[in-house]
């Protein structure tokens, strides 16, 4: 090694060591330079955005937190106490928002069912969950346990499904729809690609019909018309009808999302599976579906989120989801004029659940990336 005239270090060929990068090309300074101040337009936008945040955030914080009332008996007391939001209303109706009209002394059953649900979800989604194998087995009987806990019978006090409401109802519809629409959607997507014409056209017809009809229409059909088709005297539970309709609706969308994924799996994969002598179902389950589903994750989660939020549509056939509860509560003369708080509260509930789904899907995509492009 020798010093040159310009003071630049010279190295023999092949001996150049790793050097640290020049200042300002890594870390927060680089990030700010690239993302906030890269061009005059960008600088103007950054300043404008900062100005808006400065205007909005203090007001939002004081309205929703510092100037808000959390404990009060009615709207007038709220107003007398403070100038901001009146969360006392939500606090007082918490039970109603969460459980609907489920009998108060029986609500532990809902809580227990929810805790069990969380355990199953954690076991399904988290690979290193302790006791995962046992929980997997439990996941198979969970639907029956949950149904028993919620509906009662066999030693528990029976509770009619028209007492269900609030977030509990949203979660029941959402989880059932999600859990059933994925396998159903997979079968429909595979059926649509089938070589057997009867299966193929049955699937195509089902998908196109369900997709072509608004969900509200299906729900109305479920609530009113089904009783005309069914033999007189059969009492077919309204919630069950809604669950079936929501599941069918979501599965039609799911089928199309998964079909896109199936088409993206190169034909060579199926040829390789065939050439090894793998039969149709193992080839689909082991080779094609894992790849197709991975490609479809964004679309699948999109459908999940849509289904979950569409559950508020059950309000039109008289089921009391959180929005329905909110509207009913607003009619209370003691608490009039609090629609902002109610809708914001419901919005936050939906946002938290849907954002969690979105984050998990991103995590899953990263985890399943195995170094191949596609």
């Amino acid at each position: 090694m020798r010093q040159s005239n310009q003071g630049k270090q010279q190295y023999e060929p092949g001996t150049h060591p790793d050097l640290p990068p020049p200042l300002g090309t890594t870390g927060p300074i680089k990030w700010m330079r690239e993302n906030l101040f890269s061009s005059p337009t960008n600088i103007a936008l950054t300043i404008l955005a900062a100005f808006f945040l400065y205007k909005i955030i203090p007001g939002a914080v004081s309205w929703s937190i510092t100037d808000a009332t959390f404990i009060a008996e009615d709207r007038n007391e709220c107003r007398a106490l403070n100038s901001g939001a009146c969360w006392a209303f939500i606090a007082q109706r918490w039970g109603l928002f969460t459980f609907g009209f489920y009998p108060e002394d029986q609500r532990w059953r809902v809580v227990l069912a929810f805790v069990l649900l969380l355990m199953v979800i954690v076991a399904l989604l988290w690979e290193n969950c302790p006791g995962r194998k046992v929980l997997f087995k439990f996941a198979l009987i969970f639907p029956f346990v949950a149904t028993w806990l919620l509906l009662g019978g066999f030693g528990l006090e029976p509770v009619a499904t028209d007492k269900f409401g609030g977030f509990m109802l949203t979660i029941i519809i959402g989880v059932t729809g999600i859990a059933l629409s994925l396998p159903l959607g997979i079968l429909l997507a595979l059926g649509r690609q089938s070589n057997l014409p009867i299966i193929k056209y049955a699937c195509v017809g089902f998908i196109e019909f369900i997709r072509g009809v608004p969900l509200i229409t299906l729900l109305f059909v479920a609530s009113t018309m089904l009783s005309y088709f069914l033999p007189p005297g059969t009492n077919f539970n309204l919630l069950l009808r809604v669950l079936i309709m929501v599941t069918l609706f979501a599965s039609a969308y799911m089928a199309e999302v998964i079909r896109g994924g199936l088409q993206a799996v190169p034909n060579g994969q199926i040829e390789a599976a065939d050439a090894m002598g793998l039969k149709y179902w193992p080839a689909m389950r082991l080779i094609v579906l894992p790849q197709a589903l991975k490609i479809s994750i964004p679309g699948i989660v999109n459908t999940f989120v849509g289904l979950y939020k569409d559950s508020v549509l059950v309000i039109v056939i008289g089921l009391l989801d959180p929005l329905g509860i909110g509207q009913a509560s607003l009619a209370d003369t003691k608490w009039q004029g609090l629609s902002t708080e109610v809708y914001l509260f419901v919005a936050i509930f939906f946002f938290v659940s849907c954002y969690a789904m979105a984050r998990y899907s991103l995590y899953l995509e990263r985890k399943l990336h195995t170094g191949h492009s596609r």
């Binding site: 994969q269 390789a272 090894m276 082991l286």
Partner: protein
């Protein structure tokens, strides 16, 4: 490859018999009156211009393509629409593809054990031991836990060969195994195939590697426009081609 010793052959009974076989894609007559008999232990190289039907022909042997007329009998089983027969043939016939067709979501080891476990019902531990043995043979045991996307093209093709061998096939089909590879990776794949040939595997290779044909094949088949134009042992085929089209083809691929 000229330094490699010429492979000696010991031929057995008929492994594949193709009799007056025709195939159409729609109204296009791709394969015309194919007659071919392959003895077990025989190594056949199929060459010809692109679009001549050579890939289609070997894909008919494991029914990746369906033929419409004539008979194909593989290892004593006739290929018909009967799924049982097709599965029986595919269990005994391995195939290596131009684009490898490894399963990108499974590790190299899982790629190799999948078919033995699900088709042959081999216990997992045993299947893994066998797979490691074959990965050793294609000289990449250290890559067993990687995903195919992390390997070079030549390594991927060697995994694909190992994956086929794990089913202990009686016949191996190679569909242009080196055409998608960078030049410096072709040799490692050909070396693997030569080793396989020396062990007496029945092989049909569609390839343009004429050096490989000279070293390994005991018959070279030339196809054009869906027909077998000429077949002969490599010496005769390369030094004394009979058909005009064969001569033209050879002059095009050998002299540049």
């Amino acid at each position: 490859m000229d330094t490699e010793q010429r492979v000696e052959h010991e031929l057995g009974e008929v492994a594949i018999k193709i009799h007056e076989m025709h195939k159409w894609y729609g109204t296009f007559h791709v394969l015309k009156d194919i007659n071919l008999e392959v003895q077990s232990g025989e190594r056949i190289v199929v060459c010809g211009p692109s679009g001549s039907g050579k890939s289609t022909m070997i894909r008919c042997i494991n029914r990746l393509e369906e033929h419409q007329k004539g008979d194909i009998i593989v290892d004593g089983v006739e290929l018909t629409n009967d799924l049982k027969n097709i599965e029986a043939v595919r269990r005994e016939v391995g195939m290596v593809f131009q684009h490898f067709n490894l399963f990108p979501h499974l590790t190299v080891l899982e790629n190799c054990t999948l078919a033995p476990i699900w088709v042959r019902k081999t216990p997992k531990a045993e299947a893994e031991a066998i797979a490691m043995q074959y990965l050793e043979r294609v000289k990449i045991p250290e890559q067993a836990l990687k995903f195919p996307g992390q390997l070079s093209g030549g390594q991927q093709q060697r995994v694909a060969i190992a994956r086929s061998l794990c089913m202990s096939p009686k016949i191996m089909l190679f569909d242009e195994p080196t055409s998608a590879l960078d030049p410096e990776m072709i040799k490692e794949v050909l070396d693997t195939m030569i080793e396989l040939a020396q062990e007496g595997m029945t092989m049909i290779c569609v390839t343009h590697e004429m050096g490989f044909a000279k070293t390994v094949a005991n018959r070279v088949i030339f196809m054009d426009e869906g027909q077998i134009i000429e077949q002969n042992n490599p010496d005769e085929f390369f030094n004394n081609p009979q058909n005009e089209r064969t001569q033209l083809f050879l002059s095009q691929i050998l002299n540049h």
